[in-house]
Symmetry: D2
Subunit: 353 residues, 4 copies
């Protein structure tokens, strides 16, 4: 019953096998090997166009270097108020990009286009005092487990374009969003105006497989220097390539995402039906937020369930009684139906007061 | 016959197995899992004292964050003129540490203490105009395949201490140096005055296992923020811990280092005995530098041998004839005796003109 | 009728004379001259204790280097939502300090201690993901022309201390606040817990006289390097020293501040009594914010009055009718009673609709 | 007898008068006043083309922001081994530009084109490991008091162009070089391939008048943000404009430069004719380097002469006896013939041993 985070899981067997299968032999380092090239080609196929792919060590690195590629003195990046980039990256963008993150309001993890437009207009006309917009970033799926509809992405990219800004997508849980929408990678990214993408594989079944995907391949040369200078160029790059190779083969990545989304839906049903818990809002991908009696939550934890207390996000204004609290549950490729069943059994033994 | 670099190899079977064995189950992320803690304890044992260990993605990151931990405005880091930090890290220290690297001369990759002292004295008395010394860094084994003797390290750390500077060791090939000297990790590092260490496992049999080892554990809290802010905190940190666990178990790391050093020695013998090649200088670890007739080198390459042309390092002033060139050969845990034998066979068929 | 900003004025005659008087002769550069030392001593007297003084070129530099002196990886600086540091410094802190500014709410330019405490608590317990508090900064007088009472400063410094954070004061208009409160420099700064101060002279009668004042003189050595490295060490430092020498002599600085505050009070009276204008809130120093019929404002501008349209600040929720707007007026040492009288005459000719 | 540095002098009377004359009245801040615009126009005239001018606080700021305008990840700036940028700016370029300075050898302060070409070629072909060239910078006149001939500048800019690099000129003593060559500003800068210029007025008679001159005006918008973000945008910009206005009027700047060069020539003659001193090399502008018996130097200092001990620069290999040392003398607009005469009288009383 490990619902603390999808990064508590290990690695999918197919990916473990791929790593083992690649243990032997020699290969050019620093991304110049045959497998690196094959994986780059695979990315082209997945996105139905030429892209440039750069492996990096972490989602934070992917986000920050993506934005740094569009760096401007005095630059300001617009993100949701609760985005990972502003809440959980320890000032990496300020450090590595000398840029500022400007929070934008919106319900349940999604930037509201109206708010974004107002935020952007505050910087018009351009003034050296205020600094100037540099990029917009959205997270898909969001930190609240919600998903931007394709039209939502289009609306935000249209605003970004109108202000001549690039749109970055933080896809730490990209596959979960794709699975939720039933959209293709192309539809959910560059066809809706995304310019650069943090493509995460770690949370969805890899050990360590994060990539920056550039839809403007003209930036690839700069990115090569940005990545190396930031200490993010793996020597045995093959170990990431092998993971992505297996991850992307035969749709494994969408299969694992569908699985974790399905586990989340099942967990949501369990939480909805108990008299001691209810959903805080409807989950759309692999994160479930629920209000639970604290007593019941305590028993679940005592029984070995792992999940986190959570802060109320913007756009949630439901009541939480004194004997209740908000919790977050995250499922993954490794979540088993019996984990949910065990959780349901414990919760089911609880009765309304 | 892949002698291009030790990072062209894959991963040692024991380490591949460890990764597979850790595929399943759940574990706290960001270095808080049980295996992370066990590995941290293993580092304490190896160094015969309490240390603080931080996994990072690359040797560049390990070097730069180590030095950034001792950051001072206007800070200058003294390194050998041909050190990786200055030659091969794309300005990472300037970017991530806002510091300058000051090259110091010395023969075959080793800082000469006399030159270091002269370099340090140029900054005395302290002046805001010149900037000020911040750290000294040595590479062990060096970029020229040589090794600092224990007394050499002591001499340099004494100089650093006399100027109240920390001493960093870039141990991208630490195990090869330990094997060459037959020294213990404690003897070659903190007992000789090393304050902070880049501990590399990647080149010696891991996929991706680099760590910063702090002998001053009081800096650990700062390092935690430095690492995270630089996008170097792995979520599934277990994948590095598992590698180090296998790497350090039962002396595997020294075994692989001894093997690659032995393969280098055998290769050196081959190169020494051929009428068309000779050693440029005597190898001490797993890198061999040889002067070969370009015709013979071409035949070797045509036959599939991989090795690099190399620039004359400081301290080498042997003659290289017009029909000769300097080449570098690197062996690794994966180098097989038959690779060397095959190489010898091809070279042996060459005759002096 | 130049009420656009106090930095539109020139220089006070006494300061101009001091510059002329120092034109000749030779003096050690980089702050080592006799006049520099005399002025440093003058600062000690004014603050009734030993301080360390560093001249810099601009208020932005003073603010950013003050905060950079307390730099920590992942550091977050808490400022009022409308502070100059966040609104008007083009990301200088992100660039020069790699830090983030966290806006705190409060009425009319003043940080509300309750909001500050909530903002600080969000970073407890310490987490590498979130980053960590590094400093608190207040502006005295504020961007809304208000002034923190001495107890307000004490309350904020107590909070900062409780979280082991330094308190910085942006004193671009320090003299106006001192004049408004009738407080001594010591009372309004270190005796109320201020640790470091941006001491501005430019807006109050100098050409270019900004200083960082350190109450913790132990930081002076670091500041010397921080300043030089940022390109902020004047060679002919004497030209700033001469300005400060005249500025601080015989209380000139408080005299000019009293004058500009008095001019603001007179202007406020004029705006209050007209049927076409009213005060938005009561001014406390040398900035007046008023709501004026746009027609009348247009006539004033046409007649040569210079003043800016302004955004509603936090804590002002008065109504502004469709035919009205909010404007800012700033007085200075150079504002003459006849400027205000001329303004009053034009405004007086306007009648309520 | 103040020969320590030209920045020990005060300000030329005409410039002092200009500041006084501009004391009164109001003017738009931040470089938007009428005088700022008039001075910008004056720069256009002087350079016989449209340029963009940005006032900054110091020569260090001018140099660093000039180079930062051409910033590239992993960028390397090539300068003379003894350039101010590398010897006397406390790592400002590493800090503000995240770039590295690569020293290039050459005699008496001047980059040798052959050495520059070799230094540039080391970075070919481009590699992310090594970093990449970003700019070349020359100092005119140099730190050794020598001057690049117009053809020298052309040769270096041709090399820079061949490698698609911009050429920056550090003109802290620009006027002295112009006076020495009898060249026009256009001839010595953009007509010889200089792309961006640090234009110094401080050392040659101003209090604080440094400017960045962009010959590629397309970079002006970026520079506006770079300057503001670095805390280098003066509010009362008029105080710099007034200095430049007087400095550039009726050729005052060349007159003061000619005067200080003439004083240096006279001083050189004195040093050449004494039996206890000799010129280390022939001065070309306003710096004189001489080898003097230490006993005589001590007597001169005791009599009030101020001048500095100096390190042997590259390209000087004259003998210095045990009882001799190398000294630097700098003249300025404020040096009087009687200062030199007094110096000569004291030196003249010395006799050869």
């Amino acid at each position: 019953m490990f619902f603390a985070s999808d990064n508590w899981a290990g690695v999918h067997p197919a990916i473990a096998d791929a790593l083992s299968a690649n243990s032997n032999g020699f290969s050019a380092a620093y991304g110049n090997g045959e497998l690196d090239k094959a994986v780059a080609e695979r990315f082209n196929e997945i996105f139905e166009r030429e892209v440039a792919v750069f492996f990096v060590a972490t989602g934070t690195a992917a986000n920050v270097l993506s934005l740094a590629a569009y760096n401007r003195p005095g630059g300001i990046v617009f993100c949701h108020r609760e985005a990972h980039a502003i809440e959980d990256e320890c000032g990496a963008l300020e450090y590595l990009g000398s840029a500022r993150l400007q929070p934008v309001d919106g319900n349940l993890g999604r930037i509201d286009p109206g708010n974004l437009e107002r935020a952007l207009r505050r910087y018009e006309p351009e003034s050296v005092h205020a600094g100037r917009p540099m990029a917009v970033t959205v997270t898909q799926s969001t930190e609240a487990g919600t998903v931007y509809a394709l039209d939502d992405i289009q609306a935000i990219s249209a605003l970004a374009k109108a202000h001549r800004l690039p749109l970055h997508m933080d896809g730490a849980r990209l596959a979960n969003a794709l699975a939720a929408l039933g959209a293709t990678p192309a539809e959910m990214t560059w066809r809706r105006g995304v310019d650069i993408l943090s493509f995460g594989g770690t949370k969805n079944g890899c050990w360590c497989a994060e990539a920056i995907v550039l839809f403007d391949t003209g930036l690839a040369r700069e990115m090569a220097f940005l990545r190396k200078r930031a200490g993010q160029l793996f020597s045995k790059s093959r170990f990431v390539a092998a993971q992505f190779d297996a991850y992307l083969k035969d749709g494994l990545w969408l299969e694992t995402a569908n699985h974790s989304n399905a586990m989340a839906a099942r967990l949501a049903e369990v939480l909805e039906q108990s008299p001691v818990s209810r959903l805080a809002w409807r989950p759309q991908s692999n994160e479930v937020f629920a209000i639970i009696r604290t007593g019941a939550a305590g028993k679940l934890k005592a029984a070995g369930a792992a999940f986190y207390d959570w802060q109320k996000p913007q756009g949630f204004d439901g009541n939480i009684a004194e004997d209740e609290a908000l919790y977050r549950f995250v499922t993954s490729f490794a979540t088993k139906p019996q984990d949910v069943a065990q959780f349901a059994a414990i919760l089911g033994s609880e009765r309304a007061a």
